[in-house]
Assembly symmetry: C2
Homo-oligomer: 512 residues x 2
């Protein structure tokens, strides 16, 4: 055990992997070459169509002990991963690691296959039951949670070698060209899959929509796709794009959004060239609405919006408020429709989006970003992975990537959720280091990190409710009381990897 720079105890190894404790967001340097794959020459005019998933697994040469991946652009509507694991089991293959870009609630169906030893490790974060059972010690399955940028890094450096990527391909031709723009399972951007397509050792495109050659436009080209498989339906379209796409009507949410807008205005970045990211969710959209009005009022021509893209950003692009959108995943149908027809709405790989180990990720160019939190501590550290019971319930997403990249990263969070205080002495799990978090916005006030003194002064000048974060904590705890800390056993069941590959925190078994 060693303590990392944030005071978290990090074991020397986990699941046979030697660990590097987190030190700071900037100093870790890569010592690797870009991962490679065996070059193959396919038979001239040979067919890549192999039949269904089972035939594709056989054709790919997948064997016990290997690592597979899928992408999560179909989110909670995805049918591929569950079906894939069922077929892997049926073929008697065991000891498979999953290195998907994310695993969703719908993939709780994998639990029996983890118990059975078909799946024996998760090289990716999860949402929902699987993480809860791992936290409870009821599932023995080492898990390494990575951010979107960190996951791209892990494939690109070869730290996580994906033996076979099975990539949902909503619009695909028989020779393996595909995009996510069209078809019954259209999901828009294939930002995550683009990384696997370049770095997995074998690539299988799986489609429910085989179109005549060529699938247009080509997001992932035939030249990197080994096989094409079909299944009746890749996903449930109603759940593929299911994020909240309405502005909040909750008064607390609206108050938070107003404060956040004040912070953005005070930052001085809302001028020509402005760049901005929000996630989904009602508060984020309410902030976007404020920003949009500011930009209109001041006739600002922004530079770009990025990250997961909503219809709200599409409207701002079409209105001319942004020059461009960099889209790693589409959050709603309006975004899906836009990316298929507007060249200024650009598909972007997760590597270009957020990988810290390249010649510069898009997040580096962000002025302001809105981020969420499940907990915040007095050092501005943010937790988005574990919930109040201590269970690992959420993946990191781009949280720590965007926080590190944006000039002003703004975490919006109600001060109290379910009677629990959201600002505490220590968060259960550190997802994102406080050093990269600029401002905490609650309905009760705004806390500004000491590393943004000018912004703090400007907010005070504007008579915004700026408070020391400890004062904010005290005010909140005066209402909620100090909650009893969740108790954990020593056993480490998972890792929270920082985007650079160092370990920022661990997940321990919850003491029941």
């Amino acid at each position: 055990m060693a303590r990392n720079s944030l005071g978290r105890e990090i074991p020397e190894t986990f699941a046979g992997k030697k660990l590097v404790p987190y030190s700071d967001p900037w100093s870790v340097q890569p010592h690797a070459e870009r991962s490679t794959r065996q070059i193959r020459r396919i038979a001239h005019n040979g067919s890549k169509l192999v039949g269904g998933l089972r035939e594709a697994i056989i054709a790919s040469g997948l064997k016990s002990g290997m690592t597979i991946s899928t992408h999560h652009s179909l989110r909670n509507g995805d049918r591929l991963l569950n079906e894939l694991v069922r077929e892997i089991d049926a073929l008697g293959i065991r000891d498979i690691k999953i290195a998907s870009s994310s695993v969703h609630v719908v993939h709780s169906e994998l639990v029996p296959y983890i118990r059975k030893g078909v799946i024996t490790g998760l090289e990716c974060g999860v949402n929902g039951l699987i993480g809860e059972l791992i936290s409870k010690g009821e599932l023995d399955c080492p898990i390494i949670v990575r951010s979107h940028g960190g996951r791209a890094r892990s494939l690109i450096t070869g730290e996580v070698p994906v033996d076979v990527a099975f990539l949902a391909a909503p619009c695909c031709d028989e020779y393996g060209n595909f995009n996510g723009f069209f078809g019954p399972s259209a999901c828009g951007s294939l930002g995550y899959a683009l990384v696997d397509a370049q770095h997995a050792h074998k690539v299988v495109a799986v489609t429910d929509n085989l179109v005549p050659f060529p699938a247009v436009p080509v997001s992932i080209p035939q030249s990197v796709v080994d096989f094409v498989a079909t299944m009746p339906s890749l996903g449930d379209p109603k759940k593929i794009v299911s994020s909240t796409t309405r502005i909040t009507t909750d008064p607390i949410g609206l108050q938070i959004a107003k404060h956040a807008a004040t912070v953005i205005e005070a930052s001085g970045y809302v001028k020509d060239g402005f760049s901005f990211q929000t996630g989904t969710g009602g508060i984020s959209l309410a902030v976007a609405e404020h920003v949009r009005n500011m930009m209109r009022r001041d006739k600002v021509k922004g530079s770009f919006g990025c990250g997961g893209i909503t219809g709200y950003f599409v409207d701002m692009l079409e209105e001319g408020l942004f020059e461009a959108l960099f889209d790693v995943q589409c959050f709603d149908l309006k975004a899906v429709q836009s990316i298929g027809r507007n060249q200024r709405h650009m598909e972007m790989t997760a590597g270009t989006y957020a990988n810290p180990f390249n010649c510069g990720a898009v997040v580096n160019r962000l002025d302001c970003a809105i981020l969420s939190a499940t907990e915040i501590d007095v050092n501005f550290n943010v937790n988005v992975n574990t919930e109040s019971m201590g269970y690992l319930l959420h993946n990191t997403g781009g949280h720590c990537d965007v926080a590190a990249g944006a000039k002003v990263s703004i975490v919006v969070c109600p001060s109290i959720r379910g009677r629990l205080p959201m600002i505490r002495d220590e968060v259960t799990t550190i997802t994102t280091p406080g050093e990269t978090v600029g401002v905490i916005v609650t309905e009760r006030g705004i806390a500004v990190n000491d590393n943004l003194p000018e912004l703090k002064e400007e907010l005070i000048r504007r008579k915004a409710p700026v408070k020391d974060i400890r004062q904010l904590r005290d005010e909140i705890q005066a209402v909620t009381g100090v909650p009893r800390p969740v108790e954990f056993e020593d056993k480490v069941v998972g890792l929270i990897e920082y985007r650079d590959g160092s370990i920022i925190d661990v997940v321990r078994k919850v003491r029941e």
Copy 2:
């Protein structure tokens, strides 16, 4: 010395490189992993702007003995390569190899730098004076001529390691995102540069048109670009797109085009899903005009056009005759304008276009293709590299790639040029093996390769002037006489590499 399967004598080594003699178009298998590059993490918010070319050379770490590359999408209007070599010389750097995607007549300015030892090798084909002087033995500079697909292969396998790629970037932002669609030096597709951007060890974007971040749409992303340099002008726009874009009016050319159209019609491929490639030049365009009329007449919905794209193909796309264009380079301004606004006009990497060592190149999907020739022999072997005096004057382009890929590759060629017969017992240099050439079309008749017996029968049924290729040779030689063969010395001054890396022919010093 060993003879390859076409009877050409191939030395065991050339310029220190061990050679594999050509055997056949299909059987060579890659034994390599995809080439890699050191992963770098750039300083957060660091600037990539380094100033001019000289500063970029210094920043890139270029040293004597290394290999550089440029792309040739600016063709004979390119100013970058000449300027670059001048600056390399001024910095005292020597013994540099050039591995550009092609070198044009305008680059004859490099001759003094070859004499001086600044440039000591060409890992690419050339057009014009440099090749002539090498053929004459007046320049001591080993040259390896590669096809577009072979060149992509050589970078992707790492056989040719490019230390620094200096990539002309007609529309570029300060963080290195760029495209070729806009700006005073707009060239359209960056199909060749896309390979270098992924595989060179360092990448410098060189622009005369620095636009506000982000350059939209992004063809080559910031995440792979190390430095951004500026120069006053990348190229002479009048020469950037300078190919012949008018249909021939020459009666012989028109006769050839008519015969070629008959071949295409007889092939049976002009039906829904038809795919087609022509180069530039008046005869090719005349064939395209015939094909267009056939497609209109029969209400054919074609699949795709590919390769270098002309306005003629843009018209066919917009008319709905093709579903899509795969564009590795734009041949005229109409193509440049189209690729910047039409998602069905797709930019394609040279690797996806023509590399034989991947999961399938686009040329594999071609039905019919029109190719040119400077000489043809009775075994259907084609020469496009050397001219009648024996001098190496032309690069291969996609010739052997397309011939291997297309189901029916049709070589169009006047029977006589400058009183010389174009069909001979042996070509001076074999660029493309006869096994991959389907049909030879001259104004005097059509010769069909024995491996297309059904097409031959159908042409005879249609009363087309089908002739045995030896008969055609005899008819032509009856007019021209048998030319005196060019005499060569033993000394090998260059290699003609087949697309798979084997050596299909050599270039020898011409005996003066």
